[in-house]
Subunit: 237 residues, 2 copies
C-alpha cells in the first residue's frame, strides 16, 4: 500500500471495502465508520459510496490497483449516471501483475500484456482472440482471474493458445497471495504446466513468460523468471 | 512509494539511484551512504550495487516499478553472471501505467498492454509488430518512452498503427509527471493527436484507449478516460 493511500484512509470519515482488505488495516480504522462489503454487488457499493460522499469523506478500498479490474471504473460510471458533482480521486496501487512479478525476480522487464480469463463480463470468444494476439507477439502475458468459478477450463484453454506461439520450455509461474499471508510461488514451464493446474484458482496470478524469458536460477535452486531487456545484445557483463 | 519500499530504504546502509528519485527522499537519507547515479550506465550501477551488497545492505531505487523497464532485471542478470549468492528482494511499486491511469479516471479497467517505443534495445520492426498485434485486439495500450531521443518519429508511427484498428474518436491521453511536481494531463482523440504530439517526450506516458474506451466528462468538463468493464451489459444503473 502506498503512503498516498494511507493518507487518504486517515482523512476519511467512511471506509468501505471487502473484509479481506479492511482487516489488515484495522489499526488505521479506529473512530471511523466502517462498511464491510462482500464480493459482488459492485454497483450497490459504488452507489452507496457516492451517496455518502455527498456529505462525507469516503475511502473505497480495492485490492491491488483500483484502476485494474477494481472499483475505479464502476464508481466513475455510476457517478456519471448520477450526475453528481463530487470531488473524486483515484489513488494508484501495486496491481497483481507487478506484485506477482516482484516475487519472481523480473519476468516483466519490458513490454507485457494483462488479460483476465474471467468470462463473466467479456465473452470467451473475445478473450481467446486477445490471447492469440498477445501470445503471438512473444511478450510476457499476465493472466488475472486465471480460473473463473463457473469455467474451470478457461485456464487450460489459455495454455493451448500459448503453446501455438511459444516453446514448451517457456517459463510459467503461478503466484498466490503475493506479498500477503500465505504467499506461494510455483515456477514451471509451458510444457509442464498441466501437472500443476490444480494450484491455479481465483487467488492466483499467472505469468506466462515471453520468447526471451528464461528460468532464473541461483546455483541449482529455481528462483523465478528473468526476461532480459536486451542489454546483453549491446553490452558485455 | 509503498510502505514496504520506505522500510527497505530505512534499513539500508547504501542508497543508490538517480538524483531525481533520491532528492524527494532526502529526509529518509540522513546518515546513509548515498550514491547518485546518472541516466545510462545501468550495468555499472548494477555491478556496484552487487559489490556493495556483499558486505552491506543496499537499496537500489528505481522510479515507478523497478520490475518494468527498471533496474530489477539488469541487477538479476549481473548477479547471475557474477555467481554471487546475495540475498536480494525486488519490492514492487506503482508503474507509470497505473500512475498515469489514475490521473485519468479509469482507462485501464480491464485488459491492457504495455509497449515501449524506445528502439534502443528492441528493433523498431519488432515494436511495430507488437503494436499491430495489441491494437488489433481493441484493448487499451500504454506507451512507455513514447519519444526516444534519437527517434522522434516513433510516436507518430505508433499512432498510424493504432489508426488501422481504432476509430478516430478513440480517446488518447498524454500524462506528464503523474503524481509528481509538474503533473500535466492532456486528453484528446486518435483523430486529433497529431495536434499535440509536441507535448509528448521522454517524461510522458501515453494511454491509447481501446474499442470500448470513451472520454469521461463531468458536465462539459473533460476529466479523463473511462473504459467500462462491461457491467452495463449485465446491470442497470
Amino acid at each position: 500500500m502506498t503512503a498516498c493511500a494511507l493518507r487518504a484512509i486517515a482523512a476519511a470519515d467512511y471506509v468501505i471495502g471487502n473484509a479481506s482488505y479492511l482487516d489488515p488495516l484495522e489499526p488505521l480504522l479506529t473512530g471511523k465508520n466502517i462498511i464491510r462489503s462482500s464480493m459482488g454487488k459492485e454497483i450497490e457499493r459504488a452507489k452507496q459510496a457516492i451517496d455518502l460522499a455527498r456529505s462525507s469523506a469516503v475511502a473505497l478500498v480495492s485490492g491491488g490497483d483500483a484502476g485494474v479490474y477494481g472499483m475505479a471504473g464502476i464508481v466513475l460510471e455510476v457517478l456519471e449516471h448520477a450526475g453528481a458533482d463530487i470531488n473524486i480521486e483515484v489513488i494508484p496501487g501495486v496491481t497483481a501483475a507487478n506484485a506477482a512479478a516482484s516475487r519472481l525476480g523480473s519476468p516483466l522487464s519490458g513490454d507485457f500484456a494483462v488479460i483476465s480469463l474471467s468470462d463473466l463480463l467479456t465473452p470467451l470468444e473475445i478473450i481467446e482472440q486477445r490471447l492469440d494476439a498477445v501470445f503471438s507477439t512473444g511478450i510476457p502475458v499476465v493472466l488475472y482471474n486465471p480460473k473463473s468459478r463457473g469455467r474451470p477450463h478457461n485456464f487450460s484453454l489459455a495454455m493451448e493458445h500459448a503453446k501455438k506461439y511459444l516453446d514448451t520450455g517457456t517459463p510459467v509461474a503461478i503466484v498466490r497471495n503475493a506479498l500477503r499471508d500465505g504467499e506461494e510461488v510455483i515456477v514451471t514451464t509451458l510444457g509442464e504446466i498441466e501437472k500443476v493446474t490444480e494450484a491455479v484458482d481465483m487467488h492466483t496470478t499467472v505469468i506466462v513468460g515471453g520468447k526471451e524469458s528464461r528460468v532464473w536460477k541461483m546455483g541449482d535452486e529455481i528462483r523465478g523468471i528473468i526476461t532480459p531487456r536486451g542489454y546483453h545484445n549491446k553490452y558485455v557483463y
